[in-house]
Amino acid sequence: MYKDLDPLLHSQLRLAIISLLMVHEEVDFNQIKDITNATSGNISVQIKKLQDAGYIDVIKSFKNNYQNTSLRITNKGIKAFEDYVENLKQYIKPAK
């Protein structure tokens, strides 16, 4: 029985952001832009959606006199990612 994939994570950019946060405890906005090659506007929209779902925390601070936005994954986000990968395996498995 195939389980539905979390629609919030089953989107290219949001999944990329969450994957990145799974390996880095904290990631800043520029790093996301650098790795995903997405536009700032697009990233901001997807961050807002992930934040609203409680998957990530957004931390705003100042670094070298510039405003710096960094992200952290929450426990809810980690659980959602792990469930997503588990469900994904069902789709990838060859049919018997």
């Binding site: 089953h10 290219q12 999944l15 990145l20 390996v23 070298n64 990968v85």
Partner: protein, 194 residues
């Protein structure tokens, strides 16, 4: 990257690629290269000057700053690791390699210099050359790889250079093989914050 829905296998590919990409990005300010390189430059040049002034008995004294430099570097990165939250496999590999290299150079230089005799400098330089070479391969930087090869060639050439000039060779190699790559890393680190 576009905002679109995709198939499960594309999804898995994306996760794998992003994680691999994130883990292979090396971020460092080049402190270890610059600091260790400068300490090595000062101590080897110091030895060369002492030998020229005929202070043979104490000529190796300047090298005592090297273990101290190693300890300072260790605590610097230990403190830095507590503030930097990224896990990076390349950084970890280079740090581990730096520790192994430092220990080998210290043991060879302080305890086996008599056994190595004229081969001491070539041996040390061959080990030295691995640092920029390995860094170059891991961070995909041609300059580092080229510098590693140059130091490697100098190592073999030093067999044909008089022993009294070996400390001078080491001081030059410290500048081109360690300090220079450190400055390059430091420059690109600053650039990434602009």
């Amino acid at each position: 990257m576009t905002h679109k829905e995709f198939t499960p296998s594309e999804s898995l590919n994306l996760i794998t690629n992003i994680i691999l990409e994130a883990k292979s990005r090396f971020k460092d300010n080049g402190f270890a290269f610059i600091f260790i390189g400068l300490c090595c430059f000062i101590s080897s040049l110091g030895q060369f000057i002492l030998l020229k002034l005929e202070y043979y008995q104490v000529s190796y004294y300047p090298y005592f700053i090297m273990p101290v430099a190693g300890v300072i570097t260790y605590f610097y990165y230990k403190k830095k690791r507590s503030t930097v939250k990224s896990k990076n496999i390349i950084g970890t590999l280079l740090a581990l390699f730096g520790v192994i290299l430092g220990l080998n150079l210290t043991i060879a230089g302080f305890f086996f210099w008599e056994k190595f005799d004229i081969a001491l400098l070539p041996f040390m330089l061959i080990l030295f050359s691995l640092w920029p070479f390995l860094t170059g391969v891991l961070i995909r930087n041609r300059l580092f790889t080229a510098l590693g090869l140059i130091v490697n060639i100098i190592a073999y050439c030093s067999f044909f250079i008089g022993m009294e000039y070996h400390p001078l060779v080491l001081s030059i190699v410290s500048l081109i093989g360690i300090v220079l790559p450190g400055i390059v890393i430091n420059y690109s680190h600053k650039e990434s914050y602009v």
